[in-house]
Amino acid sequence: MTTDAAPGPDSTRLLRVQDLSVAIRTRGHDQVVVDRIGFELDRGHTLGIVGESGSGKSVLCLGLLGLLPRPQVRIVRGNAWYRGLDLLAQPEPVLRPLRGNRISFVFQDPLSSLNPYLTVGAQLEEPLRVHHGTSRAEARDRALEALAEVGIREPGRRSGDYPHEFSGGMRQRVMIAMALITRPDILIADEPTTALDVTVQAQILALLRELQQRHGMAMIFVSHDLRVVSAIADEVLVMQAGHCVEAGSTRALFATPQAGYTRQLLDAVPQGHKSPSSSSPEHPLDPLLRVRHLGVTFPGHGKWFGTPPTPIAAIADVSLDIRPGEILGVVGETGSGKSTLARAIVRLVATEAGSVQVGQQDWSNLDAVALRRARRRVQMVFQDPYSSLNPRMTVHDCLAEAMSLERMLPAPELQQRIAGLLADVGLEASAAGRYPHEFSGGQRQRIAIARALAPEPDLIIADEPVSALDVTIQAQILELLLTLNRRRGLALLFISHDLSVIGYIADRVAVLYQGRLVELAETNTLFAAPAHEYTRALLAAMPPAIQPAPARG
């Protein structure tokens, strides 16, 4: 596993990587993005590579098979042997028959990895016909077999469909079928479940494990998610900024992490549930937000002279309350209407039915001007920190605008208040003069939170605010939101697809399924005794909790 094995080709190992370094050339300087990584992989084993974005984990995998965009990115040192064959010394014609044949890939985004203009069947047959020269009829049989193996019903009919006709999970199954159809020795899966819903993720992981046992192949599983890796890998390699900070068997590494960074990663995984806070439901406070029977319908696509469009109900009959100072979590999968609910509450989308009341004010029938004035009480934080800040506005301008709409502030006081806001979200006052693109994703999310705080709202709606962030950053942002909640008595409507994040931060949890609220309960109650069938399915699909590291002396 580690790098101290004797150097030199070793044909008994399936894959052996030694001292591999990859550099990116920018403006004449070489920047090392993968620094002397080594590992070994045997048949039937799974190596998990864990790291945050930019840690070099994907570059490492692409580098093994000469898929790096040369000459900007190139391997500067090291060796990789596949069954004793020195991969890095081989010219392209030798590597090509290996790629997608002996060593296969599954990528994160199955939609962009499949050709939208070819049927799934045709794409499945391609590797067989290219690499093995299989006849058309036999390739077709094998393709159907492979589709059936990955759990796609009616493979005969489905193989004639195009990628867009499959759901995300089904597409990833197709990708796996395609990767496995040539019976590879090694499957490299790069974040294969990151884009998927949690229940689908659980199915895909189970499928990968089952297929691995059946075919005895080796697997390299790359992920930023420690829990997923701990569930599937035999051995784990933790990467940070191109370095291997720790490697070892999964059990040992998670039980007694040695490196500080590994511990940091493990601590960052939200675990456990929040115990009811002081503003718990016994307090007879009037609700801050009262949503009643809210419904949103989107016009469907009709034909010009044909049938009238059938409207699609995005959310229907949703009722919930948020008390002052409370954190209400909303959980649901893709398409469950979480974001629509958020946008309907603040009236960014038109509502079809129901009412929204903030404090004593009914928002449903406010006119445009009154609504503009009322709106400042409820602010939002969005998922994508890259599109939620105006790229042409400095942080100062952005916050000044958010703050000084009705107030007349002298310049020094404005500066001071902006510095204060920035300090509240953990940024230096010097950040004010800079533009959004000069900040990292986590810092941008802090700026977005500062902007949401600027009008001093009573409620912030956070729509997947940590989903686009690395796990350590995610933990910092969650901590920040909790601090703001405690210190300012700020109420939060926290939307996420991730039950563990919700369990960590929320006082109460609402479960959305296909646009309907199927369960609303206190966090502890919901985790301990889920009432609805769908909630139980969600809980069962959660990756197992990592054993917390024992106290270190």
């Binding site: 960014l348 100062h396 301008d397 709409l405 007349m408």
Partner: protein, 291 residues
């Protein structure tokens, strides 16, 4: 500082930073200088031109460039350099004015249509479609017949035709910017729609708009010569680059310099405008690192 002062702060930092970034762009600054000199020459034409633009010297006739006539003379014996200088007054003015008119109408129309959307958008864009379908020449002739012939009116009329494409480009850009989260955030801050459009939408669509505007200027300059050819624009003995080029083409074989010098002036101007447009586009975007 009052709220109004706070508002000017936004405009200030956008304009100031744009100017600072533009200043770092050597090529853009060089072309800006060249354009400045051309404008200066056009303004000073009556004082620096070696001859009067309408002075004929039939005995002289067409002569190639010489020490007396740096750019040569035309078949009427008129000094070409003088005529180019006077012509630049018309051409630069029509280019700038008509483009500004097109820019203002097009950006406002397109932004409102794209931002408001729905039925308003549908109606506004149908109007654009209808105007597109009107033959350009007939439209201009109608205008001149109705309002009488004047150069200023001509500039406005050209601008009124050129804004159509601008409006379409702007609308498309606005529709994609409108969906971004920072616009939603601005709505939630209770900002009035005009302010969201002015501060959050328009600055983020200026890149393509500026580039298209620099492409509109040469179009407009050539359009003017077409209208002059129809007798709707500059009348003899007045001149513009478009008119000079049109005449130069007719006599290309006998007197090539009559085409070369006006065409060269136009080319240099367009060249500068293109570089300036690229420079402006980059300077407007804080994400583009300046060298």
């Amino acid at each position: 500082m009052t709220f109004m002062a706070g508002k000017s702060l936004h405009a200030n930092s956008l304009l100031r930073d744009t100017w600072l970034r533009l200043r770092c762009n050597t090529m853009a600054m060089a072309t800006l200088t060249v354009l400045g000199i051309m404008v200066l020459l056009a303004l000073l034409a009556p004082w620096i031109a070696p001859y009067a633009y309408a002075d004929q010297n039939l005995a002289l006739g067409a002569t190639p460039p010489s020490w007396q006539h740096w750019a040569g003379t035309d078949p009427f014996g008129r000094d070409l350099l003088t005529r180019i200088l006077y012509g630049s007054r018309i051409s630069l003015a029509v280019g700038a004015l008509a483009t500004v008119v097109a820019l203002i109408i097009g950006v406002l129309w397109g932004t409102v249509a794209g931002y408001v959307g729905g039925r308003v958008d549908a109606w506004m864009m149908r109007i654009v479609d209808i105007l597109y379908a009107l033959p350009f020449a007939i439209f201009i002739i109608l205008l001149t017949v109705t309002f009488g012939r004047s150069l200023l009116l001509l500039f406005l009329a050209i601008g009124c035709v050129e804004w159509l494409t601008m409006a379409r480009i702007v609308r498309g850009q606005v529709m994609s910017v409108r969906r971004l989260d920072y616009v939603a955030a601005a709505v939630l801050l209770g900002l009035p729609p005009w302010r969201i459009m002015a501060v959050h939408v328009i600055p983020n669509i200026l890149g393509p708009v500026v580039v298209y505007a620099t492409l509109t200027i040469p179009n407009v300059i050539l359009l003017e010569s077409f209208l002059s050819f129809l007798g709707l624009g500059v009348q003899p003995p007045g001149s513009s680059w478009g008119v000079l080029i049109a005449h130069g083409v007719e006599t290309l074989e006998e007197y090539p310099w009559l085409l070369v010098w006006p065409a060269l002036s136009l080319t240099v101007t367009l060249f500068c405008l293109n570089f300036l447009g690229d420079g402006l586009r980059d300077a407007l975007d804080p994400r583009v690192a300046t060298e």
